[in-house]
Amino acid sequence: MFRRILPLVAGLLWAGSALAADVSLLNVSYDPTRELYADFNKAFIAAYSKETGKSVEIKQSHGGSGSQARSVIDGLQADVVTLALAYDIDAIAGKGLVAPDWQKRLPLNASPYTSTIVFLVRKGNPKAIKDWDDLIKPGVSVITPNPKTSGGARWNYLAAWGYAEKKFGSSDKAKKFVGDLFKNVPVLDTGARGSTVTFVERGVGDVLLAWENEAFLAQREFGKDKFEIVSPPLSILAEPPVSVVDKVADKKGTRAAAEAYLKYWYTKEGQEIAARNSYRPRDSEIAKEYEKSFAKVELFTIDDVFGGWAKAQKEHFAEGGIFDQIYKN
């Protein structure tokens, strides 16, 4: 019977293949943006066909920011990359796939939406976690992904470092603080979503260091009666950047659509979609409208505290860098 059904099923599947669109874009993105881009793509496809009369199809690929960049370098045909941090796009630019000045081509460091790092704790906040200090207390178990593979984890790490350096005034003390923090981390997942699943579903840990949008999403999925979001008074301004992959877009002849796609982020509609998905919008009007959705947090940038991504990457996350020294002990 199975043999008789199989060709039938196979036939149906082939017949059901999607009809080809005028333009097809591949957006290679990082882990927690799945829901954001599902929303954004729908809106863009409608807007684009209204404006140009062309149908566009957008394919998504998600994974840890670092490994996604690696795949693009290895030949994944991404028309646009929307990754967790500028360093990962720099790495792609380093192989000549993206123009070196990519971050100047779009407004606001080519980061149309921002986020920050917050704490997700269990209902009632049983360990009374309010600020970064509380994370290094003995007996507090902290969940964060691995900074070597995850963009979100690098933001987590740098946020903790920035806090400590501001509070204690020296990088030696910051190193000690971050070292103590990682002593409280029982498991390092490779990506942000993996860590969320570890915390939320497997019930491991007292606090999850998470993207603000990721924390809100977990709360939406599992209910406010299970998890609470704690925003520390001071955290980092995370700027996830976007760029056209010049070499691929030019070869495929998709540059116009790819550029329109990224520019759509800077429209009111785009900004609204970001805000709706708990990413902090750049547009001041939309930001005001969604003011109540986001806690007031004093935010420092990576340029302020670390002198940019290239420097931070080299000092902290490169082979034998500060993270390696901390994690070995």
């Binding site: 196979a10 599947l13 591949l26 690929s61 998600h62 290895d74 030949g75 699943v197 070869k251």
Partner: protein, 320 residues
Amino acid sequence: MSTQSSVVTSATELRAYAPTADLTVSPPPSRIERARPRTGTSPDNLRTEPGPVRFIIITLAVTFLSVFVVLPLVVVFASAFSKGIGTYLAALGEPEALSAIKLTLLVAAISVTLNLVFGVIAAWAIAKFDFTGKTFLITLIDLPFSVSPVISGLVFVLLFGAQGFFGTWLQAHDIHILFAVPGIALATIFVTFPFVARSLIPLMQEQGTQEEEAAISLGASGLQTFFRVTLPNIKWGLLYGVLLCNARAMGEFGAVSVVSGHIRGETNTMPLLVEILYNEYQFVASFAIASLLAMLALITLVVKTVLERRLDEGQEPRDH
């Protein structure tokens, strides 16, 4: 014991009558070893343990199996149907799910076909001929069993990636292997490579070359010999290998994950989609796909049992 010595006699006879060459390959001794447990000792003689010990051992085995095999299977199906059959079917009808099922079937079809051809050729060469480097060839065939699937995937990245060995040439000719169907098929072929050959080699070695030699001496051509003599002899073993090859091809995760690029609706196979959906909190959809893979496993098991019975039956008369 009498049966055993008769086998020895027949084996010696075979030795005497068989034409020349292949006598160094050793079907007769292996036949004796096979015959011993089957005919020499009856199963009753093996029951030396006292009742309670037997009971404890059986209970342990059954408990272990229920906890580690049956329970997870039940959980998969329970989660898949937790929101009713409607949601289950809707999850399988999603474009992404359909595309994953389609890709998995396509990749399995490609890799099983190629490995079938390759497996028969390799088993033929190893079982029926003697040549230098034969042991080395057998080791090579086994290699995918001993290499971690992630490494198998990375090998193809190193070969066909844009920065890889053939990368520049492939890019210049606009040929996409990695992060596309060819790459996924290649990685799958690599990891499922040993199944057909491995299930045929012992069978063909045991059968020896006498029947083929007889056919050829009676005037059959090479192809005729293969289709009329060899193939009927190995058909159950061949199906057995194909079955295992197919099960692994559809279920492979590690190697495929490395070369897939995870393009939604395009390069995600079913096992990859299960993980993705799970990570997106779509548990019902995730377990719905997982249930298809579990069903594949169950069907494989049933067919495997049937084939194993056929294989045994097919060999029984040959032993005497």
